[in-house]
């Protein structure tokens, strides 16, 4: 029987939807063991939030070195588990942290790495979208263990109830993995809205908001959507950098992406082009983003969004 390791992903002490997605991808390949890296004393509590997904086993590793030394320490422990259990694949979430851990593990255990997969098949054959989402690529690791990072929101999660066996593993973190020390950590400021990369709907604002995101936020809230921004908006300080969509921001692929007052520069497209449905609101009919629109409104966002917000609320009532 093939076996697969996944690195469980947590935000605010809870397993993320992305964790269920990588478990779902992993279960196509083999039996899934989720590795939970926790501060000392918190392994059981974190594991208890892994209630969904095709997970057969949870391996808990507790160490305060994870919070203190970050990526290198987590990669060290994960490599240790991979060396012991000889999985066919190791799956991680494709964010900065997951990709860097994957890279270090690949180097340490000398395995091939594929990042940003949007699909993974039973034989570890992966699909990626490259060049800003314009090209589909299929790749595979040619020998040994496949280390794959999977982009959030691209695999339909299997939310079956998980009833995993729990095992505690003890790992000695190597000195090499302790060479950088995190002296302070600030989590991102979160409103009550869903996480950008996980959201089913993203409503973004650009320079066209002129700094006033209220109309964008109200519309997002009517749909239970996450709020994104173009770099023009984050650079101006209108919206936090953590909400930037694009080449140097986040890549999102929601069911619905609504761009308000965003022109459609190539760097912005790179972060949203793979959204299933795209709606563009822009007062300039020549705005290049209309090329990607399934539905476009040539108009002032401040005139279009308020009645749309009321319309959504009315239909939901």
């Amino acid at each position: 029987m093939s076996n697969v390791l996944i690195l469980a992903d947590f935000v605010d002490g809870k397993a993320t939807k992305s964790t269920v997605e990588i478990a779902t991808a992993g279960a196509r390949i083999g039996e899934v063991s989720a590795v939970v890296m926790a501060p000392i004393g918190q392994g059981a509590a974190l594991s208890a939030t892994l209630t969904q997904g095709p997970i057969t086993k949870i391996l808990i590793i507790e160490s305060d070195d994870f919070a203190k030394h970050g990526v290198a320490a987590v990669a060290d422990a994960l490599s240790h588990v991979a060396n012991q259990s000889k999985p066919d694949a190791v799956l991680l979430v494709s964010h900065a942290f997951g990709k860097e851990v994957a890279g270090r593990v690949a180097m340490k255990i000398q395995a091939g790495i594929i990042t940003d997969a949007v699909d993974v098949a039973a034989d570890c054959y992966t699909t990626q979208l490259v060049f800003g989402g314009s090209t589909t690529v299929h790749s595979k690791v040619s020998q040994g263990i496949s280390i794959i990072t999977v982009r959030p929101n691209t695999i339909t999660a299997d939310f079956i109830a998980a009833t995993p066996a729990i095992e505690n593993v003890s790992v000695q973190i190597s000195e090499n993995a302790k060479k950088s020390t995190i002296t302070s950590s600030q989590p991102p400021v979160k409103g009550g809205r869903p996480e950008l990369t996980e959201a089913n709907i993203v409503v973004s604002g650009g320079r066209g908001t002129n700094g006033d995101f209220a109309a964008v936020e109200n519309f997002a809230d009517s749909l239970g959507a996450a709020v994104g921004a173009s770099r023009a908006a984050t650079d101006a300080g209108w919206y936090p950098h953590s909400h930037q969509v694009g080449q140097t921001g986040k890549t999102v692929s929601p069911q619905l992406y609504v761009a308000c007052g965003i022109s459609g520069a190539i760097q912005h497209r790179a972060g949203m082009q793979t959204s299933k449905t795209i709606v563009v609101i822009n007062k300039d009919p020549e705005a290049p983003l209309f090329e990607l629109a399934d539905f476009g409104v040539v108009g002032d966002l401040f005139a279009v969004l308020p009645p749309a917000t009321e319309g959504v609320k009315a239909r939901k009532a």
Binding site: H95, G112, V137, K179, T181, T183, S185, S242, G296
Partner: protein, 243 residues
């Protein structure tokens, strides 16, 4: 102190725009800590792996002010994956006495954001990646960074040697001056092949099997707002079962 530095020449043989920030940061560090003269204590070396036409991109970094450059160019490296790239770059880095290696956070072509972490693992150097701010204390042989990712903001410190990667918000890369461009013509670019790096891997472990353009998106409907744009937008969402 020597700021060793990496940049990637992509398919068009232009300096990967995100790597200009790395070049700029290396130059600033060298300039802050005692000059950047040939043979001086603080020199910046550009290291790049790519086809020979990448020389142009390397030359750009030299014209910005880097002292010298190493270009690893070998047909055997065509289509190298992340593991092979990181192994080869690490081999070259370890031959010299660098204190800091500065990378971009991602290459514009591969966009993996893994090479810096992999080099750090291979060399056993400290990893200081996704930096929006870098501070170097040469007397204490210490580097501190502010790491900015979707997981929040961290302050991280480490001793030399370390591998740093910088995000694009860190600085404003300089334009090469006329003097810089002229000076770059006289600077050395050492071109070496894979065998001379002494790197231990010689094949890629992951392979692209096929690539195809995605079908273009079907043309959508664009309407002009006449006061009913908002309502029509909601009708569209309902029709698509998005609400």
């Amino acid at each position: 102190m020597i700021g060793g530095l990496l940049d990637r020449a992509n398919v068009d043989a232009v300096l990967n725009d995100l790597d200009e920030y790395a070049v700029e940061e290396a130059l600033r560090i060298a300039e802050t800590h005692g000059g950047n003269e040939e043979g001086g204590p603080n020199t910046v070396t550009v290291i790049s792996m790519g086809p020979e036409r990448a020389t142009e991109a390397v030359r750009k970094a030299l014209s910005m002010g880097a002292n010298d450059a190493i270009l690893i160019s070998d047909p055997k490296l065509a289509g190298a994956d992340a593991l092979m790239t990181a192994e080869t770059l690490s081999a070259v880095i370890s031959k010299n006495q660098y204190d800091i290696v500065i990378c971009g956070t991602e290459s514009t072509d591969a966009r993996m954001s893994v090479v810096p972490a992999m080099i750090s693992e291979k060399l056993g150097w400290a990893q200081l990646t996704f930096a929006s701010k870098v501070e170097v204390d040469p007397s204490a042989k210490k580097t501190s960074i502010t790491r900015v990712t979707e997981a929040g903001v961290d302050e991280i410190v480490a001793q030399f040697p370390c591998v740093v990667s910088v995000v694009e918000k860190i600085n404003e890369p300089r334009y090469p001056s006329f003097k810089g461009i002229m000076a770059a013509k006289k600077k050395t670019i050492e071109i070496c092949d894979l065998a001379s790096t002494g790197a231990s891997v010689s094949t890629s472990w992951s392979a692209v099997l096929d690539a195809a353009p995605r079908p273009p998106r079907a043309a959508g409907v664009v309407i002009t707002d006449d006061g009913s744009g908002g309502t029509k937008f909601v009708d569209f969402l309902a029709e698509k079962k998005l609400i």
